[in-house]
Amino acid sequence: MPLDTQSAIIEMQGISKRFGPVRALEEASLTIHRGRIHGLVGANGAGKSTIIKVLAGILRPDAGTIRIDGQEVTRLTPALVEKLGVHFIHQDRLLVPTATVAEAIFLRHEPRIGPFLNLRAMRRRSAELLKHYFDLDLPADALVQDLTTAQQKIVQITRALAQEAKVLVLDEPTAALVKREVDSLFRVLRRLRDDGISVIFISHYMQEIEEICDEVTVMRNGTDVGVVDPRQSGIDEIVAMMINRDMGEMYPARSVAIGAPVLEVQGLSRDGSFRNVSLTLRAGEIVGLTGLLGSGVKELVQCLFGLDRPDAGRVAIDGQEVALGSPVQAVGRRIALLPEDRRAHGVAMGLSIADNIALASMQRYAKGGLVSAAKEAAIVDGLIRDLSIKTPHRHNLVRNLSGGNQQKVAIAKWLSCQSRIYVLDEPTVAVDVGAKVEIYNLMNRLAAEGAAILLMSSELEELVGMCDRTLVIYRGELIDEFTRAEADTDSLLAAASGAARKTARETA
């Protein structure tokens, strides 16, 4: 047995993958041994999901070799991967909601008698499998949509086991589970491991990694930076490996007098997303906001811009309570949102730079309902120069700009609006380093001019480098606040992953 666990079931070596100018994977390697639970961790954008998509046959790598069960595979397809015994349990449940448990387990592998489905065998076998692996008496005729999330996950795993899976890949399997369900899932995984099945476990939750994994591959900037035994290394060392400490001169220094409160949020809640969040944003202040995927951060931002409605709580601007029922009202209150999905919400790729910049503040460009070309030229050219947007002319299409310049156009739209409250959602995603620094400088300048900035980022160095304070949301609650002096990437990541902050908790 010990010898067997040493042999590799999956070996991925020197995997590289580019998306246009973005290097998603650079010589990344991942080795999974038989009968081990293997953790895969890294900050957002480190390349975790890309390497998993390569393994799943969804993305074709530009370079590298993949061996599964000792056999080198060159053209991996989702069907082939499954045939080789590698099964993926996705974050979003990929089951047909109106199928029965038995149908879901045997989907595309139904037992047959001649051309007909053998429904009796299907029901019997699924009940046996559930009983055998999970000691679970789930009725084979129950509908998938009536099951709990944990039960659905078990049905997915059972489906893989019914096809004699050798490797299970679980992407954030605990995200929607309560503690009790997490415990039972872990019991199942350990049993499967003892039966010789390998598990790849992808999670942002560090304690879970420490609890369940036999070994962990840490990824950073598109490559693997080490394989560690979490029981020996501990969370701190893994987190340190995840984070690039080289911050250098990325974050320009600034000193600004912080003024009066501009935005005050009191007890804001939205059912199923976040609870009882209170925060204050002052003039001249840059406040960070972070949380893992599904923590409720995104939903909170949606509410602040009127894209969603909170179920409880109040929002006040300059001490006056306001209703933010739609983006129309939010923009009217001079709130700006730089959305994360630039293509869908930030800039209209098919319109010109001038069209985009003027869009949210047309009243400034208008003369009796008509657009004044002279005003447009003056304001837009001023902003193009001011933000050094690299383009030959304001009438050029935004589509033809680089990512960083597109983002500057999206920001310029709000500068044209003379916004006072800037909510920036991942402002430097898919932006090159040079433009990144320009965006940071711009943020500092806006703050110096009296704007209040809420910076949402999953790039923790950015928060540490830029923010006067950083707020951390964990599972829907604002659980911690770090001053500039207190904030470092390790403690932010620990807080976002739900780890108790020792000093703060003990003194509190």
Partner: protein, 327 residues
Amino acid sequence: MLNLSTPMPIEERLKAISNYAVIFALVVIVAGFAIAAPSFLTGANLYNLILNNVVMLAIVAIAMTIVVSSGGIDLSVGVSVDMASMAFIMLLKAGVFVGTALFAGIGAALVVGLINAILITRLRISPFLATLGILFIGQSVQKIASGGGKPVYLANAKFAPTFNAIVKSEVLGIPTPMLILAAIAIAVYVLLHKSVFGRYIRALGAQPGVAWYSGIRVPFHTSLVYIIAAGLCGVTGILLSSTVKSYVPLSGDGYLLDAIGACFIGTTISAQRRPSVLGTLIGVLLLAVTRNGLLLVGWNFYWQQVGIGLLVFAVLALSFGLRGRGH
């Protein structure tokens, strides 16, 4: 701005030429018919062509252009035309004052637009399905109201001066319907290409998410688009019923496909393949001239349709083919 100091690569040149493919086609077709059918290039033919085939279609096509610019489609343009026509004729017949009947006619079309707007912005039905539903309902309503589709004729002498004043009069030697088209074309050109509202429409058409995230009142502006379009179709309804001195149920439906065709043929004159008033007018001319010319050279109605279809393919193949396969 184009950098003129370096020569344009050949692909760029082809792309620039491709924008004029449809104008080139129009010139060739006009020249061709001028040779093939001696009666084509006569004043009387062109006058009739424009008054009877171009003006009414062009107004509907311009209405369609507004809707398509906003990223939508209006399949109920014919219903708006017919509702205006029905209200106008029936009220005249009932002895209502001409001015009142005119306003009621346009008003009836605006109601169609308002219903479209409510379906699209409140019930969030896609423009295609919402206006398709109104097309079906509008057709049935007309059949019910007209006793199974019987036309309402007002051919007696009492109404002749009214209709003549609308479609046969001239101002400074130019027929009134042409002036109406010119006024509408200029107004919509300014609206789409020069006004603040036009910017919002274009943003909606280009990327509705960005418009919403920029604080634009998307439902309000979308509603206006469908209401304005229906009102313009109402103008065609008045001109149509005044020309034929009657209300003929479902006669507006004939404009639907030509209007969509003209609008999309017109997008080929823009580098970004966007709808524009000028492009749509060229598209209308292309369709109307071809149909008229084929009639004059003696093709029957069914072969005319084949000719139009081939023409559309030819223009689009020329226009898109020149752009290169990369697009």
